[in-house]
Symmetry: C2
């Protein structure tokens, strides 16, 4: 059963309209709730050498990043933890709590279970004013394509550039940046946890326009040979930066750091220096995704 067939089946059962954003969106009074869930397993999702505190931190960060990518403010996190060893729980919870203390929200509950392999499912709820929500759709030809931070750092750590270990193991959810982008008129957004290139293709799926990216404008990990660095920036996964579009005359608020990497074009394709960009990123065997692919629905993944 290939990925496409699986996704088509999911679309048929729960509706494709629930599958296009990083979070589900639920009207609640005068606000929108956004909600997302992410499943992480010890052997497939956590790098070697990571501490339990970092496992907790990362589990919270992937979900807070989904909330950030909608322009929303985190409210609460629920953690379901299948533990191989109960003595690990304390550090995992402390890591998740500390991530919330930095990014926003708090741990409001969860579920504990015994499991042969450590498995953590982090679910989060955020809130956003309807005028400030940002979705994957909404890009318009002429908009600028931008990214926060430096894509490729997490993959650089996996490739042995240990100066980037912290980027890999203690990712920062870009919550403040997401809120600012929501308030200042970003036209579309998602996070790049699956990699920059594949995220551009995810945006493509949600929009009728396309994207033209300039290789030389893409920030890439420092201290890595140039060819490898740009490959990491384009195709590496595990970075929780925001990929977004803004009107061409958008003015960044003071202190807002980002890079313009290209522009939105009328043609429905993704170009890199004028040629079609390879659609490649972190992939599971049989379903797309970074650390557990989309169950459409919402923010399947990240």
């Amino acid at each position: 059963m290939d990925e496409r067939a699986l996704l088509q089946e999911v679309y048929a059962i729960i509706g494709r309209e629930h599958c296009l954003d990083d979070c589900a969106v639920i009207p609640c009074g005068e606000q929108f709730l956004v909600a997302t869930t992410d499943m992480l397993h010890e052997t497939t999702d956590f790098p070697a050498g990571i501490t339990d505190w970092q496992i907790g931190w990362m589990s919270a960060a992937v979900t807070l990043s989904d909330i950030a990518s909608m322009g929303a403010t985190p409210a609460v996190l629920l953690l379901a933890v299948g533990l191989d060893d109960p003595s690990r729980l304390g550090e995992i919870l402390r890591g998740a709590r500390d991530c919330c203390l930095e990014a926003g929200g708090y741990i409001a509950g969860g579920d504990i279970d015994h499991h042969t392999e450590l498995t953590i499912v982090s679910s989060g709820i955020g809130m956003v004013a309807p005028d400030h929500i940002v979705r994957r759709s909404g890009a318009r030809a002429g908009d600028l394509v931008c990214v926060t931070g430096v894509p490729g750092c997490a993959q650089a750590a996996l490739n042995g550039y240990h100066q980037f270990d912290k980027a890999l193991m203690e990712p920062r959810a870009r919550v403040r940046e997401g809120e600012v982008l929501g308030r200042t008129g970003a036209t579309s957004m998602m996070d790049i946890s699956d990699g920059l290139a594949i995220s551009l293709y995810d945006l493509l799926e949600a929009n009728s326009c396309g994207y033209s990216i300039d290789r030389e404008k893409i920030p890439a990990p420092a201290g890595v040979p140039a060819d490898e660095a740009i490959t990491l920036a384009l195709y590496g996964g595990g970075d929780y930066e925001l990929l977004f579009t803004v009107p061409h005359d958008w003015v960044a608020p003071p202190g807002f750091h980002y890079s313009v990497i290209g522009s939105v074009i009328p043609d429905h394709c993704v170009l890199l220096d004028g040629n079609v960009m390879e659609r490649k990123g972190y992939e599971h065997t049989w379903v797309r995704g970074a650390r557990g692919p989309d169950l459409p629905g919402n923010g399947g993944v990240q």
Copy 2:
């Protein structure tokens, strides 16, 4: 590491106040959101012979039941599914969708992953007016102690009384009953997924009063020898009925089916026919709980 030490550690990290109800409670404009998450594993949580459709149904029902036990109305469900075999996903999603169609809410998203053992984490959000929310705390001496349906049926099926297989494998979340109880002044409530006796002790933990139960008033599975039936009703797990208290002069709305099984007493204890009731239920090795015990937080389990 015993259960009590683990729970004390969790309380210290995330706050005991988040650990007393079936759901976390989050103010949202003029409403309260309730949110809960439940982790289920193939070998420990799903009975032999269950179909994938029923696995999906049950995964949704356990979470909808948590929402029901707060008096809330289900809004959305998120499903994180770790699949050993991708061809199972369709039936699992159909089962969860069909449960939502009956009980309320809809599947708004999730996450799909490959995993050696089928693992499903169902997270749900419900909404309730602040005046209508019902918590585990709130019981007052003189109140009546009541239960919906017949406790013990799920355990009866596990004991070989196959007329109860459907109760075990396709539990009904008592959403309509929970809403009615919220609107008509129930003073406290939880579901009895861990068993009736242990749920009375959970209520005890959240209240300063106690409970006096009459064995002969407890409804028990029909067609089972009397002694075994009452044991099933008291100590069996896997029933998603509501245990609740109401003022002694409460009048049930027409068509509302329930049983009065005892009364709330000033003394902080649980009595069965005047003697202290055994604190026994479905237990994991090292943490309390039905199908994955409380990560306090909120509605850990159920």
